[in-house]
Amino acid sequence: MLNPSFVPLALLLQLMLLLLLQAGLSGWASLVLLCVLLFTYLSVRTKQTVRLRTINILAVLMCLLLVSQLGQQDMQDSMLQLLFFSAALRLFSVTSHQQQAKKLVWVQYFLISTGFMLNQSLWFAGAVFLLFFCNLYLHYLLFAPRQQRRIHWPEWRLLLWMMPLSIALFVVFPRIPPLWQTERQQQAQTGLADQLSLGGIEQLVQNNSVAFRVEFSAEKPPQQELYWRAKVFERFNGRDWLPALQPAAQPLLPSQASYHYQMMVEPHFQRSLFSLGQVHQVQGQVKPVAAGLIESYQQVNRRFSYGLSSSAEAVVQQNMLEASRNLQLEHSNPKASIVALQLKQSAVTASAFANALYQYFQTQQFSYSLRPPVLTKTAQIDQFLFEHKVGFCGHYASAAAYLFRAAGIPARVVGGYQGGSWHPNGDYLQVLQKDAHAWVEYLDNGRWQRFDATAIVAPLRLTQGLSSALPLSERQFLEQMFQQGLLKEWLQQLEWLDYYWSVWVVSFDQNEQRFIWQHVASLPWSWLGSGLLACCVLALAVYLLMRQNGSTPNQVLRRQILRRLNSYGQKADHQTIECYLQRLIQLHPTQSALLQQLLQAYQQFEFDGQQEQLQQCRMLLNQLSARGVNRHESSGS
């Protein structure tokens, strides 16, 4: 019953799917699946059908394995594995039954589509869609004539019709909001940990993937102003900086904003979002929270887009509670506290203290490194400031915030990203995970001013990126992760494509849908409608005309004969044209010669297929109709 190429193709498809969905499958699951596929291949090769009992035993074993792993992995991944298992086992029983093959195709549609849960980049999507259409072909084979493999033109046409239809559905079909909350416990590949410990960002720096992309609508800020705030850490326990406990949300301050930009965030499975300076306006599914930060309504587990307007000014103080919260020091680093108090004696105001602190970091021979020695003592800040003097942004931010607080100035650590690289083609800024950064904000005259000690220690870090700030040996360590050479240029082009893929396709949402509708509604519909109507009428007229003329020359000729010779006598319904002409010859002896010629020419044209006689017929008809008119005139006068 089944097309002979169905099973091998399905096997190939599942193998490709196995490769593609590696990210969602645990190691043992891939191994088991690979074994099952191999087993299927062997059974197909040797043309041996597998007994149902074997399949059932395999299914039970797989389910047991899955259940045993249930606690250790994500629910979503478990579901993906379950689907894949069912698909792989289904393939066993497919060999001849169409019913089973139908179910297999169904499950595979689902499985392939869930692949988008893992990744949505252009290249992954391309591969997934390729598999999707492979499955469509399998589906086609299922219901096509058994020996047929090629797709004929009617089916291609069907496929071509599908494309615009699905795109139209994508653009206009209403979307429903999420029905239930979907939180995903996945290790985020991001520096936005819930806490900033000394050493946390190190893991991140080697990560060369994109964190987010920004498109500025008009003015672009200078490179050293690109501090993307994401998290604020206000509690320090001696080792880690933690976020404040349930701070109240800070309302937006509507005011003139200098930068308007659209953010495109890669999934990082958190709610925190990125913003620049003081935010004045937000667009999209985001809300303002405490400390001038922006948060998404739900976890960002897909590419997510939102728009912001902000000014470059420092963030405004929310309330007095915020200031007092940021003065607390639960842990003591005695040496650091002494230094802070010494500096405070010479500098009265907060900004003066900040300058003094800058100077302190500049003069004390601190250096920047991604691989600083591990801090072992309980007084970590003291150890960093007075023993090692080597570290990266996390160390400097943490030390500086401690010094501020020790001097009685409210200060907090801010985590986020700094800088980013402008894409040559796309006019957008791309911020990578390795651009993760941490800095300090201290309170001065009701505003949280920025203090970045790293800028003093490694100024190139800010203006030219991380790699130029590092010594040569460390740069090599970093560049292992980078693609280089000609390939890099190509990759840039591809990234550019990927960017627009995510802007136009992946992050298309209700807002854009509404925007399109508004745009459509604002079109001059009265003009378009009347134009369309006119086109329809014109097309109808042309169609009717064509139908009249579009008939064969024989029909046209017959119609002409009837019309032209109407004055000589009506044709009766039962008469053929020949009978009619013969009757006319009898009725009009004066015209009999011409009529006789016409009859002959007509017969030769109609029955002998002599095309040249058509012209002759027309000529004779012209003469006859002219004479007919004359006769009537003479009889009338």
Binding site: F116, Y140, P154, S166, L169, W180, N301, V506
Partner: protein, 310 residues
């Protein structure tokens, strides 16, 4: 279970009757039927239903996880489903079925009904079923469909309303039509071996009136086999007296009634076939009709049809 069946069966039958009566007005029997909009039915199959469920699941999934690409997959499948409706319809649309001349058969060997098709290019995967013949399936349509009808009793039968359906392509949508063609077929009485009548019994004695050399066209049944065995190069046939008086036609009269009628009809059927084979002219009278003696295939069939209708 039984109760439901007893309750539903009459309702279902009632509905069926109404439906067929409605069909009768919508598509009365015709010699040529072109499948047009008004007699084509289009509806999703069970697999189509599952497919719609898949689309809904994917849509919910995509909407919940705010995943545009899963939504796009759902839309692709939805578009496929919509296009399939049209494709399934056009797979049957404009197909033209034409009835052919009435075939004939006997109760033990039913006739082969032929239906010619036109405008059948690019039309695939058809199944044909009806009350009168075993279901048949065609990957691609031939120019003529041949249906082996189930054995029936003697008479003139009308090919019942049959169903032509296709799920091509993708098996999501089934398009079908209940077609009534003006196509009838004859079932003649089952021919019985002619019983030996008195006259023929005398003739069949091994005393031929005369022997003449065999000429092509002469009935083989009259071959003198014994002589042929002796002298294979000079075949000889016997000529009976009855053979000589071929000009005097046989005339069969249907006289029996009741259960004897069937027997007589069977016997006459066999006789008629024999006469035609022997080249003898023959006539037939039944209570309703009279057929004057003649010969030839047309005459034979006329006689047999008269017998079938007795």
């Amino acid at each position: 279970m039984m109760l439901a069946k007893t309750l539903w069966q009459p309702l279902f039958n009632q509905f069926r009757r109404y439906f067929y009566r409605w069909l009768e007005t919508r598509q009365p029997a015709a010699a040529t039927v072109e499948l047009r909009q008004h007699i084509l039915f289009v509806f999703p199959t069970a697999y189509g239903g599952w497919f719609v469920l898949l689309i809904i699941l994917l849509y919910l999934f995509g909407a919940n996880y705010q995943n545009n690409l899963i939504l796009l997959c759902a839309y692709l499948l939805l578009a496929l489903f919509c296009c399939c409706i049209l494709a399934a319809f056009f797979n049957l649309h404009q197909l033209r079925l034409t009835a052919t001349s009435e075939p004939f058969g006997y109760p033990d060997s039913a006739p082969l009904v032929t239906i010619t098709l036109s405008q059948h290019d690019n039309k695939k995967m058809f199944s044909l079923s009806g009350p009168d013949f075993a279901p048949v399936f065609f990957d691609t349509l031939p120019a003529a469909l041949q249906l082996v009808v189930y054995p029936k009793s003697r008479g003139l039968h009308q090919l019942g309303r049959f169903t032509l359906s296709s799920c091509y392509p993708f098996g999501l949508i089934r398009c079908w039509s209940h077609i009534q063609l003006k196509q009838s077929y004859w079932i003649y009485p089952q021919p019985a071996l002619p019983a030996m009548s008195a006259a023929s019994a005398a003739n069949s004695a091994d005393y031929p009136d005369q022997l003449v050399p065999y000429q092509s066209g002469a009935p083989v049944s009259a071959m003198d086999w014994k002589r042929l065995a002796k002298n294979p190069w000079q075949p000889v046939i016997r000529r009976y007296t009855s053979y000589a008086r071929l000009d005097t036609p046989e005339h069969l009269v249907v006289t029996a009634t009741g259960s004897a009628l069937e027997q007589q009809l069977a016997q006459f059927c066999g006789l008629l076939l024999q006469f035609e084979q022997q080249g003898q002219s023959y006539g037939l009278s039944t209570p309703k009709t009279q057929i004057s003696p003649s010969r030839g295939q047309a005459h034979l069939h006329r006689c047999l049809q008269t017998l079938a209708l007795c």
